[in-house]
């Protein structure tokens, strides 16, 4: 590890814990919160019974917590997300699984019009979490690969988090469940079983709104989140051979955004690349680039660059999806260009 630490939490300095997959960490967080707090209930399509969800996050939950706490829903996102809001208004802490983040649109009104606005309009807290399995890169086609986080970041009243590591998957889910606001929790499907890491045991929370320095570096800063964090770290390792020292900032939370961490790193490096798997146009990266331009323009040595998905539906066939989606090679090329600027 090279470079200064800029006062961030030390990268990979996780407390001793158990090594597990990203998806196991999600499951563990949910199970521990349900054991701790009887107000936490789970609802969604196929989450109950012996099935335990399309990705098995809630496998065994119905046995442990009963059908009344792990509720299979009819195919009615608009109604069951609305129902979750009603439960939350009455003091429960529902955790809703939308089977794929792509399907969250069928409950859009319930989220952005009602749940998100209640506290501002009439002071009513809506403490629910929507778990949304998102992201692609695994040949799942246009309707099982999307990253729709920008719509929710654009909505006042919501919080939006995107964990990139097993430890953060657990810590952010526990924090989201305990938060008194509606939180949309985007899970990275490609990381579910491919990524393992140490996960602190027991009551592990990660504050919503705090970025994590995934890799320290002094020459170029990569600001990203979700699965792209790992592509960026891989690219950074490649670039060591080029003598380019790359910092990678894992945002973890998109709303609220850790603007302080972004600006601090932008100022420290003067060269910033923003990356997300969601399509680039009007994506979260545009806001981050604008933030840096607004607040740190005179400290930059190069224009802020962005890499994102193309402005097309996420294609299915591997060569097409690879052309759509940012990866370590493209990231490394863009960083080299920035370093040369």
């Amino acid at each position: 590890m090279t470079g200064a630490n800029f006062g961030f939490a030390a990268p990979t300095a996780e407390a001793a814990g158990t090594e597990m997959t990203y998806i196991a960490a999600i499951s563990e967080a949910l199970r521990e919160e349900m054991r701790r707090d009887g107000d936490v209930v789970v609802l969604g399509e196929d989450v109950g019974g012996s099935f335990g969800g399309a990705f098995k996050v809630t496998q065994g939950f119905a046995d442990e917590f009963g059908d009344r706490r792990v509720m299979n829903m009819p195919m009615t996102e608009n109604a069951f997300i609305g129902a979750a809001t009603g439960m939350a208004l009455m003091g429960l802490r529902p955790v809703v699984e939308v089977q794929f983040a792509d399907f969250i649109t069928t409950g859009f009104d319930a989220i952005v019009q009602f749940a998100a606005t209640n506290h501002y309009r009439w002071g009513a807290a809506v403490p629910w979490v929507i778990r949304a399995p998102a992201d692609g890169g695994i040949s799942s086609g246009p309707f099982h690969s999307q990253n729709p986080e920008a719509w929710f970041v654009h909505t006042p009243g919501l919080k939006v988090v995107v964990p990139a590591t097993p430890a953060d998957a657990k810590g952010l889910l526990i924090s989201a469940i305990r938060d008194d606001n509606p939180v949309v929790y985007f899970e990275s499907k490609p990381l579910y079983r491919s990524l393992r890491g140490e996960v602190p045991e027991g009551d592990h929370t990660v504050p919503i709104g705090r970025a994590r320095l995934a890799r320290a570096g002094t020459d170029v800063a990569v600001v990203t989140y979700g699965a792209m964090v790992h592509q960026a770290v891989t690219a950074a390792q490649t670039l060591e051979a080029d003598g380019i020292d790359v910092a990678v900032l894992d945002l973890r939370s998109l709303k609220p955004l850790d603007t302080e961490a972004v600006l601090e790193l932008a100022v420290a490096t003067g060269r910033v690349l923003v990356i997300h798997a969601a399509n680039r146009l009007a994506g979260v990266g545009a806001e981050i680039a604008a933030l840096i331009a607004d607040e740190a323009f005179d400290r930059l040595d190069a224009p802020v660059r962005r890499i994102g998905g193309l402005d097309v539906p996420v294609p299915f066939s591997p060569p097409l999806e690879a052309a759509y989606r940012p990866d370590a090679t493209r990231i490394a090329d863009e960083v080299r260009a920035l370093a040369r600027w």
Partner: protein, 327 residues
């Protein structure tokens, strides 16, 4: 619908139903007058003609129950305990209003202490919310009931069917009051649906539905009491379709010229308050003096509310970003 005469409720209940309806109408009329005088802020809605539904159904709930009323259910907000002061102040965008200037007219007038869920324009979002509230009561084993209001217009949305289905599957302690007031904005029922009764939509989902004369407060109240008792006893959801008429436009700006005059006249003769007053006079539950007293009490309460609201402060512009998130 009104074939079998209902036994009259106790005299004190009759007086309650009447008094709340008169207060509702007086407040509604006064708000309309304020707007016509140019003293209003933004737009507003009248629930004229819906008083028997809002009051009759609202008064069927217990103190621990919750309700999700809409924009024509002024009477329901009143019977749950929102004061005319807070309501008028809300309509005028003042700091003393229910939403402290955050939401318009009857929108967002929620107060969980009073068991009221604030309303949102995207109907019938309040219906699925009420289903969820009802599910939380079942989960916790609480003998509470959730009531939702929906209209003929929103009964054509997918969400109406989704929420009804969910309520039925979950056997949620829900009472759904459908105000069939013949028009969704300017669109008459004949262009909204090919069935005569919205109650039929309950049958499709296994939700028993009853049809009542929405301009007969005792009929509404009685049906609501039965539905609430059934829900509380674990009997699941009920829909009550209340046939009525929206007597003014969709909102204050709308003259509703598209409504045939003879249709309005037909319903004017069945005005819920006039009818009930005559009935109570005939039964001897009230006399002319009692009628005048209630009129005066309501007029005074409304006048005081207008004075309170108009003399209330505007919200501080510096507070505009406050309250988006729960602390």
């Amino acid at each position: 619908m009104g074939d079998i005469p209902l036994p009259a409720p106790p005299p004190e209940t009759q007086l309650d139903l009447y008094r709340w309806m008169v207060l509702t109408r007086t407040l509604d009329d006064r708000i309309m007058a304020l707007w016509k005088q140019g003293r209003g802020v933004g737009g507003t809605f009248s629930g004229k003609g819906h008083e028997a539904i809002a009051v009759g159904a609202g008064l069927a709930l217990g103190a621990d129950d919750v309700v999700a009323p809409m924009h024509r259910d002024l009477g329901c907000y009143l019977v749950r305990g929102l004061t005319p002061e807070r309501i008028v102040a809300n309509q005028l965008g003042r700091i003393t209003g229910v939403t402290a200037g955050r939401d318009a007219n009857l929108h967002g007038m929620g107060d969980l202490e009073l068991g009221i869920i604030g309303f949102v324009s995207h109907l019938p979002q309040s219906m699925s919310t009420a289903v969820g509230a009802a599910m939380s009561f079942t989960y916790r084993g609480e003998p509470r009931v959730a009531m939702a209001f929906a209209g003929d217009g929103s009964s054509s949305t997918g969400l109406f069917h989704e929420a009804l289905n969910l309520a039925a599957v979950q056997r949620a302690p829900l009472v759904l009051v459908v105000e069939n007031n013949q028009y969704a904005y300017s669109t008459p029922l004949s262009q909204q649906m090919a069935i005569d009764d919205i109650a039929d939509r309950g049958a499709a989902h296994g939700v028993p539905a009853t049809i009542v004369d929405g301009n007969n407060v005792e009929e509404v109240h009685s049906a609501a009491l039965s539905a609430v008792a059934k829900a509380r006893a674990g009997g699941g959801p009920t829909m009550i379709e209340c046939k009525t008429m929206r007597m003014l436009g969709h909102a204050i700006h709308d003259g509703a010229e598209y409504v045939p005059a003879e249709l309005l006249e037909h319903w004017r003769r069945r005005d819920p308050i006039d009818r009930y007053r005559k009935r109570l006079l005939k039964r001897g539950v009230i006399d002319d003096e009692g009628v005048s007293t209630i009129d005066k009490e309501c007029a005074d309460a409304v006048e005081a509310a207008v004075e309170f609201a108009e003399s209330s402060e505007w919200p501080d512009p510096a507070s505009v970003e406050r309250g988006v998130y729960a602390p």
